[in-house]
């Protein structure tokens, strides 16, 4: 029987070690993670990092539709991949910025119950989508009928997040402006549901490249702080 006990103990030790150090200890330590303040002299800006929380209601829609299957939310450092140099993947929407978009830190996802870092990248990364997002109506059209914008797109159409209804009086200001082929019948209009609005709010709140306090890039990226205030 003693060998049985040895076996069990060895089993517990061999798995308990990674369990303790890789999962339990970091999870406990994570609870102490909080926002940090920018230092005006050092960082050239004020406020807290990370400044703005994401839109949780929209994130739930993001989760249940399985957007993570094709969209990541994680910029890799340039020694590993070229994510940071791709056009529009950071705050700077101009071509060839002077510095790559920074890779993400643990704090970027503070306040999110679960960070949707993603499974595959069949579509573009969305970590900093809020910066490059077109106007609201275009995002809605993209969600409603992706192929009306890109005929090669392999993105599903989320028609169930929109309702087609009888247009009463003046057309609704949120009604989708669709190309003829997709347009509803005469007198009808397609409007986003509350879920679609929440999802778009969430997508617009995705800005995970705020300068990190105490890092030299913070100074270079100071304009970001201005944008935050706006």
């Amino acid at each position: 029987m003693s060998q049985f006990r040895t076996f069990i103990l060895a089993l517990i030790a061999s798995f308990g070690l990674p369990w303790l150090f890789l999962i339990v200890a970091p999870a406990i330590k994570y609870q102490a993670l909080t926002q940090v303040a920018y230092d005006k002299d050092r960082d050239g800006m004020e406020g807290l990092y990370p400044p703005a929380p994401i839109n949780r209601q929209g994130q739930l829609v993001y989760a249940r539709e399985g957007c993570v299957q094709c969209h990541t939310q994680m910029i890799r450092p340039s020694q590993l991949a070229l994510d940071g140099w791709r056009k529009g993947w950071g705050q700077d929407q101009e071509g060839r910025p002077t510095a790559p978009v920074r890779s993400n830190t643990l704090r970027d996802y503070l306040g999110e119950p679960f960070a949707f870092l993603g499974v595959q990248r069949n579509g573009p990364d969305l970590a900093n989508y809020g910066w490059r997002a077109p106007e609201r109506s275009v995002i809605h059209q993209m969600l409603y009928a992706p192929r009306s914008l890109h005929d090669w797109s392999n993105m599903p159409a989320f028609e169930h997040l929109y309702t087609e209804r009888l247009a009463q009086g003046q057309a609704s200001s949120v009604a989708l402006k669709l190309p003829k082929k997709l347009a509803p019948k005469e007198g009808y209009e397609v409007v986003p549901t509350a879920e679609a609005e929440a999802l778009v709010d969430y997508l617009l709140s995705l800005k995970k490249d705020y300068p990190v306090p105490g890092e030299s890039t913070a100074v270079a990226a100071a304009p970001a702080a201005e944008a935050v205030k706006k």
């Binding site: 029987m1 060998q3 049985f4 069990i8 060895a10 089993l11 061999s14 070690l17 990674p18 369990w19 890789l22 999962i23 970091p26 999870a27 609870q31 993670l33 989760a63 249940r64 539709e65 399985g66 957007c67 299957q69 094709c70 994680m74 890799r76 450092p77 590993l80 991949a81 070229l82 140099w85 791709r86 056009k87 071509g95 890779s103 993400n104 830190t105 643990l106 996802y109 306040g111 119950p113 679960f114 960070a115 870092l117 993603g118 499974v119 595959q120 990248r121 069949n122 579509g123 573009p124 890109h150 090669w152 797109s153 392999n154 993105m155 599903p156 159409a157 989320f158 028609e159 169930h160």
Partner: protein, 492 residues
């Protein structure tokens, strides 16, 4: 074969085996049958998900059938509906046989647990399809499902541990039993950890994503792998009639897997927000795992050496042999996607899907098919009906899986190359989407082939469970010329 001339000793042995088989018959067959059903469901979903990935308009814009919902349903059906369920069946039978114990009490508990397992899986998969997905990999099922699955699993694990404890003979190293016993411990431990961390703690942000990746890797390495290896270590010596080549190698293989397996996973998010040491240690252990993988592969190779003709004739050995062959293959693929040089290219690409399929289907499921082809005739008292159906199952599975794994890896290299190509820095994803298309079409075709084989497997299994198999004392072999080569033990 020569039961008439067998000594009284062998006859007593056979009676004892029959009694053990009879005691676990009901629960094991229930698990196999339901598992086979979910497997078929999963492969059908695999076809649909693949089609939806290159043709999102296929079957309209119905919310239930969007890729983002179909793909997790497909994987979850494969993992929980088929994988864990069929794995439990094999574990229970193997543990009873290896420890020479009948299942004395608690059979009704096992039925209840198995029924609840299937109810929970059904609820969970419907939950994903109807819009309750959590979008955590392999844990997409709504949060209320996991306690049911956990309790059901424990209801099965407990009698197995009990059987093992009651008969432990300290002089022998029993590699099959060890693997299975370890799987009984690891699964609940991992499952509780991941679910508590992700569903009960107030929110772990990016660390939660890391724990999620850890969960997927450890379930593969510390549940699916030990169950499949336990079965391979049992059936390969059993059918070739040769003892396991090296006891030392099997011990090294076991303990290295046990020590390294728990550290892997976080490398899935290399270059991500996690503290750098986490992906680093994950990548290091994933590459180091090549040692136990190679050791076990070598051991199986040495055990089969000289008996390769049996691979052609015995359905069990054929499936187990190829399953065991896929173990080194999946180990190499894991190393490829985990290290920081090739892994950086293959990260977030189809290669990840390729790894899941090769590990869960190519390695685990093929081995379990072999086990099922051995176990079911002994439980039902009749032999498999048709050689052709078994052959059909084997070849369609092998070619299907091979196609999926190869195309996923090549697609991953292509996709990773496109993502990291400096020329495409200001391009949209058109080129990437177009380049991916042929591979995904190939995947859809491959899943169709596998679905075809699984439909027949399910029908074949249903006929067996219904007791409509061949009434014969000779097992169904794929090639009859070699029948006499088969050692007596293989029929026991």
């Amino acid at each position: 074969m020569q039961t008439s001339s067998a000594s009284p000793d062998t006859q007593a042995d056979n009676l004892r085996r029959a009694a053990i088989d009879k005691s676990v018959k009901g629960p094991v067959l229930f698990l196999f049958l339901n598992g086979a059903f979910w497997l078929m469901a999963s492969t059908v979903l695999g076809v649909l998900a693949a089609i939806k990935q290159f043709a999102p308009d296929f079957m309209g814009a119905c919310s239930v059938l969007q890729y983002g919902r179909l793909q997790p349903t497909h994987i979850n059906a494969l993992v929980y509906g088929w994988g864990v369920q069929a794995g439990l069946g094999v574990m229970l039978w193997l543990m009873a046989r290896r420890s020479g114990q009948e299942l004395r009490t608690g059979k009704s508990v096992l039925y209840v647990a198995a029924i609840f397992w299937n109810i929970a899986v059904t609820l969970g998969l419907l939950g994903i399809l109807l819009g309750r997905s959590t979008s955590m990999q392999w844990l997409e099922m709504p949060a209320y499902v996991w306690p049911i699955l956990l309790v059901s699993f424990l209801a099965f694990a407990w009698p197995m541990v009990f059987m093992f404890g009651r008969t432990f003979r300290p002089e022998g190293f029993m590699v099959s039993s060890w693997y299975i016993l370890a799987a009984c411990f690891w699964f609940p431990w991992i499952y509780i950890t991941a679910n508590v961390a992700l569903h009960c703690l107030p929110g772990l942000g990016a660390l939660g994503a890391g724990i999620n990746a850890w969960y997927v890797h450890t379930i593969i390495l510390l549940f699916f792998t030990p169950v499949a290896l336990g079965a391979a270590y049992y059936f390969i010596p059993k059918i070739t009639g040769q003892p396991i080549a090296s006891s030392q190698l099997s011990q090294i293989g076991f303990w290295l897997l046990a020590t390294l397996g728990g550290w892997t996973g976080m490398q899935h998010y290399m270059g991500g927000p996690l503290p750098a040491w986490m992906p680093a240690i994950g990548a290091a252990s994933a590459v180091l795992l090549l040692i136990p993988v190679g050791v076990v592969g070598l051991n199986h190779h040495l055990t089969t050496l000289g008996k390769h003709n049996l691979v052609a004739s015995s359905p069990t050995l054929r499936f187990v042999f190829f399953g065991a062959l896929f173990y080194p293959v999946s180990g190499v693929i894991l190393a490829l996607i985990s290290n920081f040089s090739t892994g950086a290219t293959l990260q977030f690409t189809q290669a990840w899907y390729g790894f899941q399929v090769v590990a869960v289907y190519g390695f685990f499921s093929m081995t379990v098919f072999g086990a099922i082809y051995y176990i079911v005739p002994r439980l039902t008292g009749c032999e498999w009906l048709s050689v052709r159906l078994i052959r059909n199952h084997f070849w369609f599975s092998v070619y299907g899986i091979g196609t999926i794994v190869v195309t996923s890896l090549v697609a991953g290299a292509q996709q990773g190359g496109d993502l990291n190509s400096p020329e495409m820095w200001d391009q949209d994803f058109m080129q990437l989407a177009l380049n991916l298309r042929p591979y995904i079409i190939a995947r859809a075709i491959a899943w169709t082939l596998i679905t075809w084989s699984n439909v027949w497997f399910l029908i074949h299994l249903m006929l067996m469970v219904a007791g409509l198999g061949r009434r014969s004392s000779a097992p169904t072999l794929l090639e009859h010329d070699h029948e006499e080569v088969l050692p007596h033990a293989a029929h026991a």
